[in-house]
């Protein structure tokens, strides 16, 4: 299956992209996806602790299961207002 990963704020320059399309094995969770991203983008590691993940526009946990076509987003600490 494939999922789309949206990237925001300073994480865009860390990953050098606004969005990625990633192929994931069936049964993959948010945790698995983050591990895969860390392997490809080691520079992401120090930012992960403060990064939340949304799946289909809702905050998700590390255990959230991914499905084909999901819209995943890496959400660094927000600073609106």
């Amino acid at each position: 299956m494939t999922v789309c990963v949206l990237i925001f704020a300073h994480l865009k320059s860390v990953l050098g992209a606004d969005a990625l399309t990633l192929s994931q094995p069936e049964g993959a969770t948010v945790r698995d996806l983050l591990h895969q991203l860390q392997e490809v983008y080691p520079a992401l590691t120090p930012w992960l602790e403060s990064t939340r993940v949304a799946v289909n526009r809702e905050y998700a946990t590390l255990d959230t299961l991914l499905h084909h076509g999901d819209e995943v987003a890496l959400i660094p600490p927000v600073s609106g207002g």
Partner: protein
């Protein structure tokens, strides 16, 4: 309903709307771009958002605030893009029967924005 805009914000817009006969208190918060940001003088801040998620979260928080604090009106707008010093980044306006709920409702929405809504200051110049 769109809570995000790239146009300049003005509190005039929501003051134009009629006041409900149940509204005894109105509280309005404006977030304004300051000259000093992180110890440096700036001319502007630039904001971006994960727009569909931000809109959906704001919609939900506004509904929650209306129920929890009995708000008779809520006006919420956050501007995106470049915002110059002295210009408004966010307006949160609420009406309630009494002052305590009006302050609590406005502060609830502001804290929800600051904590959870995917909007970022991405550049200062």
């Amino acid at each position: 309903m769109s809570y995000l805009t790239r146009e300049p914000l003005s509190p005039k817009e929501w003051h134009r709307e009629a006041v409900s006969e149940h509204s005894g208190a109105s509280v309005e918060f404006l977030g304004i771009v300051r000259r000093m940001e992180g110890g440096q003088p700036i001319e502007y801040l630039e904001y971006e958002a994960y727009e569909p998620m931000a809109e959906q979260m704001l919609e939900r928080y506004i509904q929650q605030a209306q129920e929890q604090f009995g708000l008779s009106k809520v006006y919420f707008r956050h501007r995106l893009g470049k915002i110059r010093v002295g210009e408004i980044a966010v307006i949160i306006g609420v009406h309630a029967p009494h002052r305590a709920e009006a302050f609590a409702g406005c502060q609830f929405l502001l804290e929800a924005l600051k904590r959870d809504v995917p909007i970022w200051k991405v550049r200062a110049g």
